[in-house]
Symmetry: C2
Subunit: 230 residues, 2 copies
C-alpha cells in the first residue's frame, strides 16, 4: 500500500515546509512507498479529512496522522522492522529535544532571512494569505522582516555553530549514519533552498558538507527537488 | 579500583560546577566506585597532572581524562557492560547536541541569574580570582550582572520551556529512565541550588518535578548535596 503524504507546495512544485521535509526523509529512511499530494495554503480542504489544518498529513491505509513528530513516532512504531528513526528510547527522547530546538531556535532564526523569498515563490493564490497572516504574526510585512541585518545574520550563525559543534567529527548528527535527528535539522535547509538563493552556509563549513550529504541520501532525493543550488 | 573525581568546590563543600555534576551523575549511573577531590579555583595545581586547568578531571588507575563530555565517552566505552549513558550511537550523537545546547544556551541564561550568588558562596581564597575573571569576561562585575531583570528572567524561562516541551509526558528527557542527556541538563540545576536560594522553577512546573526525580536518583545523592531547598 502506498502512503499518501500531503505536502505544502509553492509555485513550480517548490516544497518549502521544513516539517514536510522531516516526514519525507523519514519515509525514505524507512524505505516505504509513498506519493506526495501537493497542498497550497488555500487548498486546506484537501486535508480536511485529517480533522485539522496543518501539514504534513499522512494517510496510511485507514490511518491518518498529522504533525511531523507524531508521524515519525507512528512510522517508528508501525514499521519497527525497518531502519530505526530514533535508535531506541534514549535516542527517541533526545530527538524530541532536537525537534523542540529546531522548531523554536533554528526556524525562528531562519525565517527572518527568507520570509520575503517565501512570498515570492508562492503560487499566486497563496500570496495574500501568506503576506497577511505573517504580517499579523510578526507585526510587520515580510519585506520589512527580511532585511538580513547583521543582528539577524549573527543569530542564524549562532544556531549553525551549534549544529557544527554537535556534529563534531561525525558524518551525521546521529552518528555514522543519518537518522531522524538529522532529518529534523535538515528540514530547515530543505525549506530554505527550495525558495531562496541566499547562501546560508559557506562552502568550507562542516555544516555545508553535512547538508550536501543529506541531499545525496536516497538517490539524491532532496538534492533533486526544485530549489536553488546554494 | 576507586576512580578519583576532581571537582570544583566553594565554601561549605558546595559543589557548583555543572560539568562536575554531569560527571558525578554519570559515575553513579555506571555504578562505579569513586571519590571526589575538592578543588578550589586557586588550587589548580591539584589537577596539574592532567596537563590542563579545567575541572572535572577523573583519574581511573593510570588513565586521566578531562572535560565532562570526553569523560562520559570514556566511561561509556570503558564500562560498556554497565548501564548505558547514551543508549547507542544515535543517542550518543543527539546527546552531543544537547551538550552543546546546555553549554551555550542553558548556562548562559542561568549564569546571569546566579553569578553574584556564586561569588558569595566561594571560599575566601577564590573570591578575587572569580570576581576579576568574570568581570573581565562579561565587561561588568557579578553584582551588576545579577539584576534578574525581566529580560534575563524571560531568557531563562525560554530555555526552561524548551526542557518542558522536550520532556513531553516522559519521566526523563531520555525516556522512562534517566541517561546522560538528563545529567547534562541537570548539571545546571545542581549548580544553581548549590549556591543560590533564588527559585528558578515553580513547584507546579513539570521541569520542577523532573528535577526532583533527578535529585532522588542514586539514593538521593544530588538532593543530599549541600545547597538550598528551592
Amino acid at each position: 500500500m502506498v502512503i499518501e503524504l500531503y505536502e505544502l507546495v509553492g509555485r513550480d512544485d517548490r516544497r518549502f515546509s521544513p516539517y514536510c521535509w522531516r516526514t519525507r526523509m523519514g519515509l525514505e529512511h524507512k524505505g516505504l512507498d509513498y506519493k506526495t499530494i501537493p497542498v497550497r495554503f488555500t487548498d486546506k480542504d484537501l486535508i480536511a479529512f485529517s480533522g485539522q489544518g496543518r501539514i504534513p498529513v499522512i494517510k496510511d491505509g485507514e490511518m491518518v496522522v498529522s504533525d511531523s513528530w507524531a508521524i515519525a513516532e507512528y512510522l517508528e512504531q508501525t514499521y519497527g522492522d525497518r531502519p530505526a528513526l530514533f535508535g531506541g528510547e534514549t535516542g527517541h527522547g533526545l530527538a524530541q529535544f532536537l525537534n523542540v530546538w529546531a522548531d523554536r531556535s533554528l526556524h525562528s532564526a531562519l525565517i527572518r532571512l527568507v520570509i520575503a523569498d517565501i512570498l515570492d515563490h508562492l503560487d499566486e493564490a497563496d500570496r495574500d494569505y501568506f503576506a497577511e497572516s505573517r504580517t499579523e504574526w510578526f507585526g510587520k510585512p515580510p519585506r520589512e522582516i527580511q532585511t538580513r541585518s547583521e543582528e539577524d545574520l549573527k543569530a542564524f550563525r549562532q544556531v549553525v555553530s551549534m549544529i557544527r559543534a554537535a556534529l563534531g567529527d561525525r558524518q551525521f548528527l546521529s552518528g555514522a549514519a543519518p537518522a531522524y535527528g538529522d532529518y529534523i535539522v535538515f528540514g530547515a535547509f530543505g525549506w530554505a533552498r527550495s525558495i531562496s538563493d541566499f547562501p546560508l552556509l559557506s562552502e568550507d563549513d562542516d555544516v555545508y558538507a553535512w547538508r550536501a550529504r543529506m541531499m545525496d541520501l536516497f538517490d539524491g532525493m532532496a538534492g533533486k527537488a526544485v530549489g536553488y543550488d546554494v
